[in-house]
Symmetry: D2
Subunit: 327 residues, 4 copies
C-alpha cells in the first residue's frame, strides 16, 4: 500500500513537472526564473522526483559489488573553471605537524586547512548558482535571500542525498573519437544516436551523465580549460529535461554545456535554463572513464553533497554501482 | 566461484589482521606506529577488509528506501573541535553575486569560497592524522612523507568509498540518559550491555557508530565542546578492534574518545591507538539522532570522503539505509 | 609662495569641515550618512586636511632618531574583536618549505599564506566600514557601490599615506590606574584633564591616540575582549572632532569606543558617528605602551595602510617619532 | 656625545659587515647560509646597520612635504609571482554587509576577509625566505626553527621599521628604453652608468631601488610575468652589497633578479646570495614610476612591514620623501 502511494506520488511529481513546463512556455518568449511546480517552499527543484519507493527500486536492482568512483582528486594546481575570472584556487596546507613544537611528546597529531571555490573538482551546482534578473529558482530574489555568507534559499545544505538510477551517455564513443572537438555543442540527435548505439533507454527521474571524453585531458590545466570545452547545446538540454524528464544532468567537463556561449548576452545559457528556469541541478567534472571503459551505462547513482550552508555548490564524490541492465 | 574467492580473501584479511594484532603485542609495552599486515604499500589499514563481495552482500540486504543522513550542516559559527588550539574556523563567503558588476546582463551566476579545517562537521580521520615518534601507520616517517601541502601517504585521496554493514550502538539509550555525563569514558562492558539491550550482533568488518547523545547539545559551541565530551575509553576501543574486528569506528562527538585524556603524555590516546597502531580510521561528529529515534541499529553504511590530496581527514556526509535485521 | 597657498588650503579645509558640521546639525535630530564638505568625489573624509605643507611642517619638527613602533604582532591565536561574531580568525601557514620535494636541490625557498579579517591587530577602519540606512560617508549607497569583493568607494586603496602631528592622550595615567575599568566610557572632561596633566595642546588636523591601558592585557584573548572594553563615549568623540578638529582618532582597544554600546539600536554608535557622519577614520589596537612609558605625547605620526582594493580596513604598523614639544 | 657613540656604532656595523664578507670568501667556493657578523642572535642581517643617529640624519635632510607612494594596489586578479607554482592567489570578500540580516537596524558595519600569499604586491622578503641545505641566514636550521605556522627565526615580526636614505637607480632611463628587454640581466656596469647619468652617489646603509621599467606592464598578468622579467645579475648584486654596502635592495619587478635563472641548480641565485649568504633583505614589486618621472633619486625611505609572526615576507607600502640632494 505504502509503495503504491509512493509510486503515485512519483507519477504526480512528473505530471506537476510537465505542467510547470507548459506553464513556463505559456509565459511567452522572455525567460525568467520559474515558479516551482512543487510549491512556494521548494528549493531543490527536480530532486523532488525522488521518493523512498524510487530509491528502493533502484537499490534492489544492484547487480554487483564493484563500485565506480566518479570523483576526481583535489590538489594544489588542479584545473579550475573559474580561476581566470578571479575565483579562489584550491589550496591545502598543514596547520599542525609532528615537527617542531610537538617534539617533547611521542604522540602527535597532524591537521590541515583547505580553502577552495565551492565549484571545485567533481561538484554539484545548486539552484542558487544561476539568476535571471537577480532571481533564482522559484523566483527568490537576491534582495531577500542573498547575504555575505550565502543564499538563504536553495543552498547545498538543503540538498538531499541523491540516490537514483544513473545513465551514462557516451557521446565520444558513439562518435568514435577520444574526445569531442573543442567547443563542440552536442545536439539532441547526438544523444539519441549514442543511446541507440549503447542500447540504453532513459526513464523519468534519471541522473544523466554525458561523456565528452574531455577527462582524457585531465588534469593538465593548460588543456582542460573552460573556454575550449565541448558540452551540451541548449537544445540537447531541453530534450533531456522536457522530453526525457531527467532529474539531474552531469558531464565530464567544467560546465555541462559547451563554451564559449553562443549567446552574447548570457555567459552560460544552459546553466540559466537548467537551474533558474527548470530547477534541474548539475554535476560537473565527473570522472566517467572507468564506466566508459567497462561500458557500464546503467547504475545505481549515489551522491551526498556536503551541506555547506547557503553555498551555490558543493564538491562531491559520486558513486556508481552497476544494476541489471535493460539491454 | 568469484564470490567464493572473494569470501576467502575477506577471511584472509581478518586472519592477517589478527596476526598483526598478535605481532604488535609481541613488540612489548612500548607503543609505536605499526607495520601494516596488508603490506608495505598499504595506506588505508582496515579499510582493506572491504571486498566487492562484502559490499554486494550488504547492498543486497537493503530493506527500504528511507535514507538516513548522518551528516551535519556546515556553517559559520558552528562548533569546531580545534579552533581553541588555533585551527581555522569554518568560513564561507560570496565570490560573485548577481549584484553590482553583473547589472548590465539579465543572467548572472553566484559563486562562493570556503575555508576550513579538514576536521570539520561530520568527517573522517585518515591514518596520517596521528603519529608516534613522527611515524604514521605502516611506519611512514614525516621526514619522508610530510610536506607543506600534506602527507604523501595515507591521505584522504587514497581512501576508497566506504560501503559496509553499519551498526549503531546507542550507549546513551542503554543507560537511559539523554546524553552521557561530561568526560565519561565508555567501557567495553557499556558497549556489551547496549548491544544486548538492542539485540544487535557485531561482525568483522563492521562500521561501528557509538552514540553518546552529545548531539542533543549541537550546534551550541558553548556546550558542544571537545574538552567536556564523553567518548570511548581505550579499553573499549581495544575490544571493538581486537575482539570484534571493527573496520571503522565513529561517534557523535568530536573525537570518538573521551576528553580530556587520562594520559598526560598523550592528548588523544585512542586516536594514536586506532590510527597509528591499528590502522583503523575514525568518523567524528556523526549525526545519529534519527537512527536512534527510529531504533535502526543495522544498516548499509555509505561514505564517500572527498579525495583531498594529502589531507589528514575530510568532511563527509555518510548515509545509512536500513537492512534486514539480525534480530 | 607655494607654502603660503598650501597653508591657505589647509585653513580652508578646516573651515569647510566646520561648515559641514553646522550643516549636519541643521539636518536635525535624525542621524544619517553625511555629504562630504570636500565634494561629491570625496572618499577619505578628514584625511583631506593633510597637505604637503602640513606634512613638511611636522617632518621638520623631528627631534630624534628613536622610532616608536605602534603596531602589534600578528599571530595564530591572537585576540580578535569579531571572531565571536563569525569573522575569520588570523591564520598563517607554509606553502613551500625546504623539506620534502626540494631535497634534490641545495637552494630552496620558503613561502607562506595568510588569511585574515581586515580588522586585525593594529589597523585602520576606513569610511566604508560603517553605514546608516545602507549608506556610507558621502551618502554612497550599498546598492551602487557594494559588491562581493568590496566597496568601490572609500576602500583602503583610496587612502593616502598618513603623515601628521600625532598626540597621545594618556587617560589611564591621568587617572593613575594601569587600565580603565571594564566598559568605562571616557568623557570629554577626562580627556581635558589628561591633556592638562600632560601639558599637551591639540591642534586641528592631529592624529589623536587615546590610551586606556588595555594593552596591559594583550595578548590574552580571555582578557582583551571587545565586550569588556573601556573607550571613548560619543560625547568625547564629538568634542575631539567638532571642537578640536581631530583628523584621525585611535586607541589601544578594539574599537576606540567603549563596549557594550549604550544605544540598543546601534552596536557601535561612535563608529557610526565618526565614519558615516563625520568622515573621521579610526585606528584600533594601537600599541601605546612605549610612548606612555617614555611620556612622549607629541610626535610625527606615520601610517601607510595597505591598498587593499575595496576593503573596509587594513592592518597597519604606524610609527611615531618624537618632535619638539609644545611644553 | 650620544650622537658620537651612535656614529661610532654605525661605522662598526659596516666594519663588521666587511669582516663578514671576508670571512665568507675565506670559506671557499661552496656557498652556504652564512653566520651573521652581528652575532648568533641576529635575525635581520644588514638592517642592523640602522641606528637612531642614522635615522635622525636622514630625517633631518627632508626637503619637502610631497610623499611618494611606492606601493601598488592589492586586488583580485592582480599579477602574482608564484600562482603558477601553486601559491595562493590574492582574494578579498565581504564577511558582513549592510544587506540582509542587518535590515532591522539603521546602523550597520561592513567587514571583509583577505587571503593571500605573503609575497603579494609590493612586499619585503625576509631572511627566512631562502635556504641553503635547509639553513637560513645565521645558519639556522629548518629542523630547529620551521613549523607548520612559520619560522621561529628571521620572520617579518622580527623586522624593525625601516627608515634610511633611499636611492633610485633608473636603469631603464639610463638606457633610454621604457623597460629593459625580457629576462635582461643588469650588470654592475649598467648600475654605474646609470648612477653617473643621474649624478647620484651611493653610501653605506642605503636602501637601493633599481628601476627596470617593468611597471609599465603592470597590472596586466599576461605581461607582468616572473619568467620574462629583467632584473639584477648576481654580479650586480654583489657589487651593490660588497662594494657599496647596500642595506636593502629593491626593484620594480617580481624578484629583484632576472628570470629565468642561469643556474640550473638554483631557481633564484640572487635570492640565495642576498638572503642566505649576505643577510640582505629584498623589496619587490616596488612602484617607482612617480619617482622616475620626477627624477627623484635620493629620498628618505620609510617602510613598516606588518609583523606577521614567522612569515617569510610581508606586504608593505613604502614611502619616499625627497631629501636635499648630493647633486
Amino acid at each position: 500500500m505504502k509503495q503504491l502511494l509512493e509510486s503515485a506520488a512519483r507519477i504526480c511529481s512528473v505530471v506537476l513537472l510537465l505542467m510547470g513546463s507548459v506553464d513556463a512556455r505559456a509565459q511567452g518568449a522572455k525567460s525568467e526564473a520559474a515558479k516551482s511546480p512543487w510549491g512556494p517552499a521548494d528549493e531543490i527543484g527536480t530532486l523532488n522526483m525522488m521518493t523512498d519507493a524510487s530509491k528502493l527500486d533502484v537499490l534492489k536492482q544492484v547487480a554487483g559489488g564493484k563500485i565506480y568512483d566518479l570523483g576526481v582528486d583535489l590538489f594544489v594546481g588542479m584545473p579550475g573553471c573559474c580561476t581566470p575570472f578571479g575565483a579562489p584556487s584550491y589550496q591545502i596546507w598543514m596547520t599542525q605537524t609532528p615537527a617542531r613544537g610537538n617534539a617533547q611528546k611521542r604522540a602527535s597529531l597532524s591537521g590541515d586547512g583547505v580553502s577552495t571555490y565551492t565549484h571545485v573538482g567533481t561538484h554539484i551546482d545548486t539552484l542558487n548558482h544561476s539568476a535571471l534578473d537577480k532571481r533564482i529558482w522559484n523566483q527568490v530574489s537576491a534582495d531577500d535571500a542573498l547575504g555575505a555568507r550565502g543564499w538563504s534559499k536553495s543552498g547545498a545544505d538543503k540538498y538531499p542525498p541523491i540516490v537514483a538510477r544513473g545513465v551514462l551517455i557516451d557521446v565520444a564513443r558513439s562518435k568514435n573519437v577520444p574526445r569531442l572537438p573543442a567547443s563542440y555543442s552536442i545536439t539532441a540527435a547526438d544523444l539519441q544516436t549514442a543511446l541507440k548505439t549503447q542500447r540504453t533507454t532513459l526513464r523519468p527521474g534519471d541522473v544523466i551523465l554525458v561523456r565528452t571524453g574531455l577527462m582524457t585531458l585531465w588534469p593538465d590545466p593548460s588543456k582542460y580549460r573552460l573556454m575550449d570545452q565541448a558540452g551540451l547545446s541548449l537544445e540537447a538540454a531541453r530534450w533531456l529535461v522536457e522530453e526525457q524528464k531527467a532529474m539531474l544532468l552531469g558531464a565530464d567537463n567544467f560546465g555541462v554545456e559547451s563554451f564559449p556561449s553562443k549567446d552574447p548576452t548570457n555567459f552560460a545559457p544552459v546553466h540559466t535554463y537548467l537551474l533558474a528556469e527548470r530547477g534541474v541541478s548539475m554535476l560537473e567534472v565527473v570522472w566517467l572513464e572507468e564506466l566508459a571503459k567497462d561500458q557500464v551505462y546503467e547504475f545505481l547513482f549515489i551522491a551526498s553533497p556536503l551541506k555547506l550552508r547557503g553555498a551555490t555548490g558543493s564538491p562531491v564524490r559520486p558513486l556508481a554501482i552497476p544494476i541489471r541492465s535493460d539491454r
